[in-house]
Amino acid sequence: MKIFVCIKQVPDTETKIKITPDLKGIDSAGIKWVINPYDEYAIEEALKLRESQPGSQVWVLTVGPKSRANDSLRTALAMGADEAIVINADGLDSFATAKALAEVIRTEGGAQVIFSGKLAIDDNAASVPQMMAEFLNIPHTTVVSKFHLAAENIVVERDTEGGSKEVVQMMAPAVVAANKGLNLPRYASLPGIMKAKKKTIKEIEYSTLNLPAADQKVSYTGMTLPAEKPAVKMITGDSVAQVSELVKMLRDEAKVL
């Protein structure tokens, strides 16, 4: 069985963001790039599935500038993935990204299960998994915290609102977008890291996919830093005075009650 995992590189949460002079993006110099945290759950679940299905293979796939994309693919290989592919491109939106991923998965022979994270923490779009499923004409479930494959059926638990869950059954192949709680991602082992260094990452130029330029549907402009908040008002005194002052402030000054 072939299992695909789609991952993305995102700036580490602790990284300082500097906006470029054209206000269309961020300055990538000095940014620490990491695998999107939700994609780590996707990689782990793919590896677990391979372990339960002898003879299976895990292929990791990403879209991005290859120099930085390769780092995250090496990490996935070190965790245990078998093959890695990068689609070399920069600045694609969710639609164009999903189309490119679907195209490559199709030309590489398809997959029984395609995992990804439920969203990437850089743009919070939560769009690529559903779009990719649509382009491949297969079902999807997002926000998945439990996964099970039984013959041709994929059974997952999807976290919805207010702590509720849906148990969803899909016919394979399907796209499964991981939530936190699905598993605990493993760390790469030292032998894994050594082995990953020797592997070849397949590089595909986005332009060679011959996808329409009109796949680019949205663009960002006017990027700004959020407005500075006024300094905190510390409320002092004993606890009785503090709570009465706080409630007064919330009612009369902030007007949120």
């Binding site: 639609f95 939560a126 609102e161 509720s164 059954q169 549907k217 510390m234 709570v243 409630v247 402030m249």
Partner: protein
């Protein structure tokens, strides 16, 4: 000027606040608003949609749509979109909205702006803004190559003012288009909480390590009951198993933007701030005066949560009953 389609969500027949926000934004733009509502509901939802600005109401009343199935929803909504031919679609960045509309956008070969916090509609054109990089930047989203522009809005971002929307409206009833489904909802396991989801809540009371142990959340529940608030938590206490992941606010939890966020015993790690810094008013209660949460807070109290929270609950009770 094209129509605006609003995908109106309801809970047991009652319109969600987030959907009312969208109806008002559509109405105030001067465009005609066509509301679409799925599933079982009473007839009063039509007048509610009407009063909130919809001049067309499209109803697909079928029990098959009472639970969300991506394939069934997409097929039926696309069929209705074909009849309405809107220029713009507005929907909530809810559990259903976030899952459904990227699929719709892909099938209609059009663009989607997700997780937006402001909206600017001018005729058939729309731009929206959204936070990026964990709220460290705000960007304007522009559409290109998009015959229909789809915008998903976070809840509690748009004003609800009284509008003169009570014109008569056209009501169109649609029937279910069944498709060969490869997705089946086998079971729905309801959460224990009857409260609004964190992403929709107008007031959130959130707890962290400072509550010492899981039982510390009981006093937050009491406070939340008085305020009609939803209870959230930091990653540290979710990872310790005190509360479920559905309650986590932050980077690997929910992104929230209530009017009032009360952080109790939460130090304010950057992963937590990423999920709540968009809140309008933030109250931080922490025993450590140097906790980073105070840098993001509107009001701060340094003190013992176990002493302050019960008193605060009583004080709110008094204030809200006067």
């Amino acid at each position: 000027m094209g129509k605006i389609l609003v995908f109106a969500e309801h809970t047991n027949g009652k319109l969600k606040r987030s959907s009312i926000e969208l109806l008002h934004a559509g109405f105030n733009s001067g465009n005609e608003v066509a509301a679409v509502v799925f599933g079982t509901h009473g007839d009063d939802i039509v007048s509610a949609l009407n009063q909130n600005g919809a001049s067309e109401v499209h109803i697909l009343k079928d029990g098959a749509l009472d639970s969300y199935n991506p394939e069934l929803y997409a097929t039926n909504l696309i069929s209705i979109i074909g009849k309405i031919q809107p220029a713009i679609i507005l929907a909530s960045a809810s559990s259903v909205g976030k899952d459904l509309f990227p699929k719709i956008a892909a099938r209609l070969n059009t663009g989607i702006a997700s997780d937006c916090v402001s909206l600017n509609i001018s005729g058939d054109n729309v731009t929206a803004t959204k936070p990026m990089y964990s709220g460290k930047a705000i960007a304007t989203v522009n559409f290109e190559n998009s015959p229909i522009k789809i915008v998903l809005m976070r809840a509690n971002q748009l004003p609800i003012e009284s509008i003169d929307g009570a014109k008569s409206s056209k009501v169109v009833e649609h029937s279910l288009v069944a498709s060969d489904l490869r997705t089946m909802i086998k079971e729905i396991v309801k959460g224990t909480s009857e409260k609004l989801d964190l992403t929709e809540a107008n007031i959130i009371v959130s707890g962290g390590r400072g509550l010492k142990e899981a039982s510390g959340f009981q006093m937050l529940n009491d406070l939340a009951d008085v305020l009609g608030a939803t209870v959230g938590a930091s990653r540290a206490v979710v990872d310790s198993g005190w509360v479920g992941h559905g309650m986590q606010v932050g980077q690997t939890g929910k992104t929230v933007a209530p009017s009032l966020y009360i952080a109790v015993g939460i130090s304010g790690a950057i992963q937590h701030l990423a999920g709540m810094s968009g809140s309008k008013v933030i109250v931080a209660i922490n025993s450590d005066a140097n906790a980073p949460i105070f840098q993001k807070a509107t009001y701060g109290i340094v003190g013992d949560a176990f002493e302050i929270i019960p008193k605060l609950t009583e004080e709110f009770k008094k204030a809200l009953h006067n």
